[in-house]
């Protein structure tokens, strides 16, 4: 246990709250235990049951992100809000950058653009670092589109490959990546991206990677200038992925289609599915050009403390908590 890292962690959390409070963001405390968690194909909620005294039992899960409830509150008429609390994801590796329980910060703004949330992120990190007397982050951070990153680091022109699985498969083979029959376009994208591009992003300077192919949009709006891309952003610092943000989709019909697609992917992967959160869907029309971002606080603490592993900024590692052999 590293007490000095725990002290630093406590300060980081206080300064994050101070940053948002001073700008009149409302701190909301959304439920950790819900009936219908996010249904992203590659995130696994922890499931349990809520039992009433009369024995009536309801399926319940720990949230993988507070996103749904945050957006319902936005839709109910709050313009700026943040949520800071633990989130839970099963099936994540015990690899020094993940823990099944981690501290997540999410914040949202109405009537805003993706660049506003990037500005917030940059200013918040600079604010916290300055309060701690840490000068390691130079602002402004670099802003790079996914398309440009492919050009710069892999010398591949990504735009003509969009939605063309065959062309993407040829690129993978030419670069010694395997191509499995059931690999989707996204899977092939990641084989190149994770091998040749991601390891180089954020190394010299914190970098926002933005404008993702629309198949990776999830809850993001498609870009208004070019609908082949979605208004989504990820922040990389050193080798860590720190944050993932969207211009929030507010089209109920489109969201329903994407949820059904995600459900289908879960079924193909042999995973369980559950009903779509209808309250979330009907709240979407109340979103006024909202943008939001999810931010990994443990990872920021790692960067600020120089800790090599997430385990050093937690009171006890996942191994220690769950693995009998330790």
């Amino acid at each position: 246990m590293n007490v000095s890292h725990l002290r630093l962690r406590s300060q980081v959390v206080k300064y994050i709250r101070q940053f948002f409070d001073e700008q009149d963001f409302l701190e909301v405390h959304t439920p950790r235990l819900v009936g219908k968690p996010g249904q992203e194909p590659y995130l696994e909620p922890f499931w349990t049951k809520v039992i009433e005294p009369n024995g009536k039992s309801h399926p319940a899960a720990l949230i993988t992100s507070p996103e749904y409830m945050c957006k319902r509150i936005l839709s109910a008429g709050v313009d700026k809000l943040y949520d800071l609390g633990p989130c839970f994801r099963n099936n994540e590796p015990f690899d020094g950058t993940h823990d099944p329980e981690f501290l997540m910060l999410e914040w949202y703004r109405s009537e805003a653009k993706l660049t506003d949330i990037m500005d917030d992120t940059e200013r918040m990190i600079a604010f916290v670092a300055k309060k701690l007397g840490n000068s390691r982050f130079n602002t402004p951070f670099r802003r790079l589109t996914v398309e440009q990153a492919w050009k710069d680091y892999a010398e591949i022109d990504l735009a003509p490959l969009l939605e063309d699985r065959q062309a993407m498969a040829r690129i993978c083979l030419a670069r010694n990546q395997s191509v499995a029959l059931d690999d989707s376009w996204d899977d092939l994208f990641f084989k190149i991206f994770l091998s040749e591009i991601e390891p180089k992003i954020g190394r010299e300077q914190p970098t926002f990677l933005c404008r993702y192919p629309k198949s990776m949009a999830s809850l993001a709006r498609l870009s208004s200038e070019d609908t082949r891309w979605a208004d989504r952003v990820e922040l990389y610092i050193d080798e860590l992925e720190i944050a993932n943000g969207f211009a929030e989709l507010s089209d109920e019909t489109e969201q329903r289609i994407r949820f059904e697609e995600e459900k289908k992917i879960r079924k193909t992967l042999g995973k369980n599915t559950w009903p779509i959160d209808e309250r979330y869907l009907s709240a979407l029309s109340g979103l006024k050009k909202a943008v939001g971002i999810a931010f990994g606080v443990d990872r920021l603490v790692m960067l600020l403390s120089g800790a090599a592993s997430i385990n050093e900024v937690l009171p006890a590692s996942a191994r220690e908590r769950f693995d009998e052999r330790f």
Partner: protein
């Protein structure tokens, strides 16, 4: 067929007739994407290295290698020479092939070497090895107040590791050869 969860350092993958030795690997879950294993692999024939990313649900072809008991003899311009402890046959691996693991080699060290069709492919060092600290700063009273304080120490293997503040010169320490990190006092 094996799955990517079987991947570890030193295993050999066959793809399109070529053999690739895994020298490093890491599990990655990109945001909103499937789970992958990112490996650094080295072509067993040409020595070319590259990054390869494999989806967790894929099947992979792991080549059976022969593990031979070897003893490290010496290093010269041709590389590192080892002797098979059963057949007394000598094999040499180039500096590039041994790369980072070279620092752990001590004359007479007994280790395993994986071979494929008689050709040495990768070293399997003992997971924990003992080294002597030959140079480090003396501990100062009060240094331990803030928790996990470490300092640099040079070992008789010539490499530097981080050790707890209470370790002094001349002490033997156990080093994890996978991570090149201090484990405990010997």
């Amino acid at each position: 067929m094996a799955t990517p969860s079987d991947i570890k350092k030193g295993i050999v993958l066959r793809e399109n007739g070529e053999l690739w030795v895994v020298t490093e690997f890491q599990h990655v879950n990109p945001g909103k994407g499937a789970a992958f294993v990112r490996c650094r692999v080295k072509n067993a024939k040409t020595g070319k290295t590259l990054e390869k990313t494999i989806k967790m649900s894929e099947s992979i072809d792991v080549v059976e290698v022969e593990y031979r008991n070897m003893q490290y003899l010496y290093h010269d311009a041709t590389g590192y020479t080892f002797m098979d402890r059963d057949t007394y046959e000598q094999v040499t691996m180039s500096d590039d092939d041994v790369s980072d693991q070279a620092k752990f080699l001590k004359e007479g060290l007994e280790l395993m070497i994986s071979t494929h069709e008689g050709k040495p492919i990768a070293l399997q060092l003992p997971r924990k090895m003992t080294f002597k600290v030959i140079e480090t700063m003396p501990a100062v009273k009060g240094d331990t107040a803030s928790g996990n304080v470490t300092k640099e120490a040079k070992t008789d293997g010539g490499f530097i590791i981080h050790v707890p503040i209470f370790i002094s010169e001349g002490e033997d320490v156990i080093v994890n050869t996978d991570t090149a990190e201090y484990v405990e006092r010997a």
